[in-house]
Symmetry: C2
Subunit: 318 residues, 2 copies
């Protein structure tokens, strides 16, 4: 299942609008005989890829998949449940049940009725985390929104002049590129677009093809090759984006925070003091310190060279 | 030696102007038969306390001490080397040699000439860390200066109104009180004094007596019970302070940073976003991002409830 989860993460950023799923087929002797992750654009599904690789050896094998196999065929491809029924594995281990109440359990039931042993729950929490983008879209009607910032110890993003190259180092920047590769769309504000002419591409070996869609937050003129959002609430119109990465600047970040449209914040913290400089955010609607608490939870931190990544998640909204 | 180091840390904040030393006497069978830490005001020394406890059982025992025993008697007390020679331990284990080149090695030589085995270096790095305040005063002519701040994720210390109660929680505040107990003097600026009327006491069970000296950074009127510094550079006049804790506010912190008079920064980071608010620091003299790097090193971090403590140390100054 760990391998299936790893494959699921690789598919994040390319599987939209479908969920990013991972699937592994293991022979009775314990050897991996098939691997699959949701392909670009969402089809074929992970199970289809893995089962094709395993071929006839899938019979009697164990299949690990991070999300309940779909039970309905569509224009775009067969139902994975049907593919599994045809290949007759002995057992299917599923991390997460289909969260859609209209279809939940259907794949599982069909497999069991055919005599295939189905086990549910292994790696469930990890699967939920890897599917956070798609699940957010299912539950909230908009992508999961991640805000990314490079900050000094004292929370500055630049000198008063606007100079910010470079607050954080190489390792941090590589991590940002990886996060871009795993996003379906990247958004910046017009200020950042004009000041930095950002390429917003993924400059990592092997991942150069994964440049996500680029969007500009602006009420003004559109830009060639970039989609436009006039307002943060326009994210509710992005029906085929699971993970949206907001890369700033300060006005854009403030706008999203003010509307409480941020689910996750990636702070790349440099061990430097800027002193007088541009703050991360402007007025986000906070009028009393007491109201600031219990909104964010530090869920992960790691060293990236001399810098540090702090990952905060939005606590459950009331 | 670990126990001796622990005792040394307990003496920090009360031993000034003397170094905070810890000493443990262990019988040949391996039992601790004497313990001592430098007493309030600097005398008696740790070795004197520990040897008194051990009494005649110190003969043939092993003595662990975090700093080379002093070799010269003074008005205030006998030389620890003489006390050791009188008690005849078999072995003396010293973490750190006397850093003063005029006296370094004298205690060690006298012990060895008397046939006592002396070993040097166990726990040396830890001993240096515990003596950082005293060593700074010896080397730089001023106390080690620690700056303490409670900050939001975005580096704010308060709302625009100045409201800051409470950015961080109970666990963080307890840690601050412990840091006060281990300091010889606490300093705030007049702004903080007027706004908060801070007590700057130590509200921890058993440590209520350790309230350090209080100082005000001001060019104006002195305050009863508080010492006065007119300028950060006045720290060079504090000959009997090993550890100075600067508790803010923003103007005071900025003044010390501008003069490069901060050796260590304790950031108590709350998982909250303030948005528009008071920044940690003003202009500290930085004109280019490139100059900000390589000044601070993250040396420790720990969770304190939902908050986090980040400890930065000043990298070696050129």
């Amino acid at each position: 299942m760990a391998e299936a989860l790893r494959l699921a993460e690789e598919a994040r950023g390319r599987s939209a609008p479908n969920p990013n799923v991972g699937c592994v087929v293991v022979s009775p002797a314990g050897r991996i005989i098939g691997r699959g992750a949701t392909a670009s654009g969402g089809r074929p599904h992970a199970e289809a890829v893995a089962l094709k690789q395993a071929g006839t050896r899938a019979e009697g094998a164990t299949v690990y998949v991070t999300l309940e196999p779909c039970a309905h065929a569509s224009d775009r491809g067969p139902a994975c449940t049907d593919l599994l029924l045809a290949r007759k594995p002995a057992r299917v281990v599923i991390a997460l049940k289909d969260p859609d109440p209209r279809t939940a359990g259907k794949g599982i039931n069909r497999l069991r009725r055919a005599g295939i042993e189905v086990s549910l729950g292994t790696g469930r929490d990890a699967a939920k985390r890897s599917l956070a983008g798609w699940l957010t879209r299912l539950n909230l009607g908009r992508p999961r929104i991640t805000l990314k910032l490079a900050l000094s110890i004292d929370g500055k993003i630049a000198l008063p002049s606007g100079e910010s190259k470079w607050i954080t180092g190489e390792d941090a920047r590589r991590h940002v590129h990886l996060e871009r590769a795993r996003s379906d769309m990247i958004l910046v504000g017009r200020g950042t677009y004009l000041a930095d002419q950002p390429r917003l591409d993924v400059r990592l070996p092997g991942l150069e093809q994964s440049a996500p869609r680029r969007a500009l937050l602006t009420r003004g003129e559109a830009v060639d090759g970039w989609e436009t959002l006039g307002n943060p609430r326009d994210v509710y119109r992005l029906h085929d984006v699971n993970d949206l990465l907001v890369e700033g600047g300060s006005a854009t970040a403030t706008a999203f925070l003010s509307e409480d449209l941020v689910d996750r914040i990636l702070i790349y913290r440099a061990p430097i003091i800027v002193g007088e400089g541009k703050s991360s955010f402007g007025y986000v609607g906070l009028d009393a310190i007491a109201d600031a608490h219990d909104r964010w939870r530090l869920v992960d931190e790691q060293r990236l060279g001399v810098d540090r990544l702090e990952v905060y998640e939005r606590a459950a909204r009331d």
